[in-house]
């Protein structure tokens, strides 16, 4: 990127060109009472070395996953980020805020996106994946709009186990087109099928389930698919792709659209983003799928090449009738995921899943051995589970944070019925010592 200076000489030349004496003259049309009458209250400029020291002291006040033992989940997970990822994404060919899509200039970039799409399609068991959406929540919102576009129906059924923050984003997205959100309760931690049958009907565009769901429980995706399809509705599944080395692909259980947060695939936690919206669908729906799509083709000489495809769905061509208002993506995060999947390979991804699952089950065993602590739901879980505590989860979490342990997510603010619950996530990074220390600290905190 070129550095564009703005010297006093540059400013003088610009002002002379447009025939104005000072920059201030450009602002005279703004009423005086709407203008700031004093200089902005900014601290004086710091020397670079002082600034670095200042920023480091601010950063030291953060609780990050390097200095704390992280059992926080709820949508973002402390999986290991292999070192080739940083090495590769910081290269000048890739590190840009804007993704170059011109096929004549960007075969390398297009090829990484194509490989990303291919691996996501394989992992999710779907025919086609796009080049990504902003994050898991916006992927889900786009998926329900897509379901509505496919079958023209106006209602959506959301299982109680869908991430409540995703639900809020969906609520915002469907407000404009006037779609109706209907919640299906999950009192036992998974979709209540009788309740679902009462909600899912001839007006339902899609049933949405998340598995493992927000509480960590595994849903019966195949049963949900059958229920949705019997009513002529689509099944949208929210899935964490890093789990799919072990868990069955949603596409092989009847999902029509699979979305999810891809952060676990080598994207750092970064205090909440940027993350990676995974989006995959059946081939028959490809023309209703939002987002960019890279395809493989051959050039005039018969050599393999890559180019954006099906752009006629997108807003720069189809304007108001485009499949989505967002036809961009998070290519750098998708690149991290691509390198992650390629680095780990099939066996590595299975290993990450197996270790996370085994350690989560060990942790659940140790933590529920603490008097008064129990699993809130009697359901199979994968790497995350909901604990019921005998004392305020907020206070317990605060106590453990003072011992550099991020104990998990207190659920009160997200689900009032679970005010005594703490959501605990365990990845392959956690050690037996860390889990044992967590159990000991928890025992003291609730005693």
């Amino acid at each position: 990127m070129r550095y564009l200076p703005n010297t006093p000489q540059n400013q003088r030349a610009m002002l002379d060109t447009i025939g104005v004496r000072t920059v201030e003259d450009l602002l005279t049309r703004i009423p005086a009472k709407a203008r700031l009458s004093r200089p902005l209250a900014l601290l004086p400029a710091l020397a670079e070395s002082d600034l670095i020291r200042h920023m480091r002291s601010l950063a030291a006040r953060d609780a990050d996953a390097d200095t704390f033992t992280c059992f926080l989940g709820g949508g973002a997970y402390d999986h290991y980020v292999p070192s080739p990822i940083n090495h590769m994404v910081l290269r000048g060919e890739y590190l840009t805020a804007y993704t170059p899509y011109q096929p004549e200039a960007s075969q390398g970039t297009l090829r990484t996106i194509y490989e990303y799409q291919t691996m996501i399609a394989e992992l999710t068991g779907m025919d086609v994946a796009n080049a990504s959406i902003y994050d898991g929540a916006s992927s889900l919102a786009e998926a329900v709009l897509m379901a509505h576009a496919i079958n023209g129906r106006h209602e959506l059924a959301l299982a109680g186990g869908v991430n409540p923050l995703y639900r809020r984003v969906v609520e915002t997205y469907v407000d404009g087109p006037g779609l109706k959100l209907r919640d299906v309760p999950s009192p036992e931690g998974v979709l209540d099928r009788d309740a679902a049958r009462r909600v899912v009907g001839g007006k339902t565009a899609a049933l949405v389930v998340q598995s493992p769901n927000f509480y960590g429980c595994l849903e019966d995706v195949a049963a949900a698919a059958e229920l949705a399809h019997a009513a002529g509705a689509l099944l949208v599944v929210v899935s964490d792709p890093v789990n799919l080395g072990v868990l069955e692909a949603p596409g092989r259980q009847g999902a029509d659209i699979v979305v999810g947060e891809g952060q676990g695939l080598g994207v750092p936690l970064s205090f909440g983003g940027p993350y990676l919206g995974v989006f995959a669908a059946k081939n028959e729906f490809v023309r209703r799928m939002p987002g960019r799509l890279v395809g493989a083709t051959v050039d005039l000489d018969g050599s393999r090449g890559f180019a954006l495809t099906l752009q006629t769905r997108e807003q720069h061509i189809r304007r108001a009738k485009a499949t989505s208002n967002i036809c961009t993506n998070v290519a750098l995060c998708a690149l991290m995921a691509t390198i992650y999947m390629a680095t780990l390979g099939q066996r590595g991804l299975v290993r990450v899943g197996e270790l996370s699952m085994a350690k989560a089950h060990y942790a659940a065993e140790r933590l529920t051995a603490v008097p008064g602590v129990s699993l809130r739901f009697a359901q199979p879980f994968f790497k995350e589970f909901t604990l019921k505590l005998p004392k305020s989860p907020e206070r317990v979490a605060a106590k453990l944070a003072r011992q550099s342990i991020l104990a998990g997510l207190p659920l009160k603010t997200l689900d009032r019925k679970l005010g005594d619950c703490l959501l605990v996530a365990v990845t392959e990074k956690r050690t037996r010592e860390e889990i044992d220390a967590f159990a000991d600290a928890l025992a003291k905190a609730v005693a």
Binding site: R287, T312, R313, I317, R318, K321
Partner: protein
């Protein structure tokens, strides 16, 4: 100037309609397919779907654009050209023949009379066609 057969009726959105006994056959005009370029995909309603005149009933996609298809008359779809699913290029090759899209049983036979005649459509094209 594009081919505009005299025995058809036309819309300003470049669909043609042809009386076929009690039914009406529908497609897009030679001008439309020339403007679109190579057609790569046609999405049509299912048999039994009810259409309303001037409302979109499907889409035609070319390498450079996607356009809505508008119903010339109201009625029920009794046939849809399934061959276009595999060979959308027929729309370019034979827009008034094998490239037909739907056969409709009209709800109101008089609606056909309200469409443009070949002469009116040719004049419309001569003025720019939009």
């Amino acid at each position: 100037m594009s081919n505009v057969p005299a025995d058809l009726k036309y819309t300003r959105e470049h669909e043609w309609a042809k009386q076929d006994g009690a039914r009406i056959r529908v497609g897009i005009t030679a001008f439309a397919q020339e403007q679109l370029g190579d057609v790569v995909f046609v999405e049509l309603p299912k048999v039994g779907a009810r259409l309303t005149a001037k409302q979109a009933f499907g889409v035609v996609e070319s390498v450079k654009a996607v356009s809505d298809l508008f119903a010339p008359v109201s009625g029920e779809v009794v046939e849809a050209n399934g061959e276009l699913g595999q060979k959308p290029e027929i729309v370019n090759q034979d827009p008034y023949g094998k490239g037909w899209m739907l056969v409709i049983t009209p709800a109101n036979a008089k609606e056909l009379d309200q469409l443009l005649t070949a002469a009116q459509y040719e004049e419309f094209l001569a003025q720019g066609g939009h």
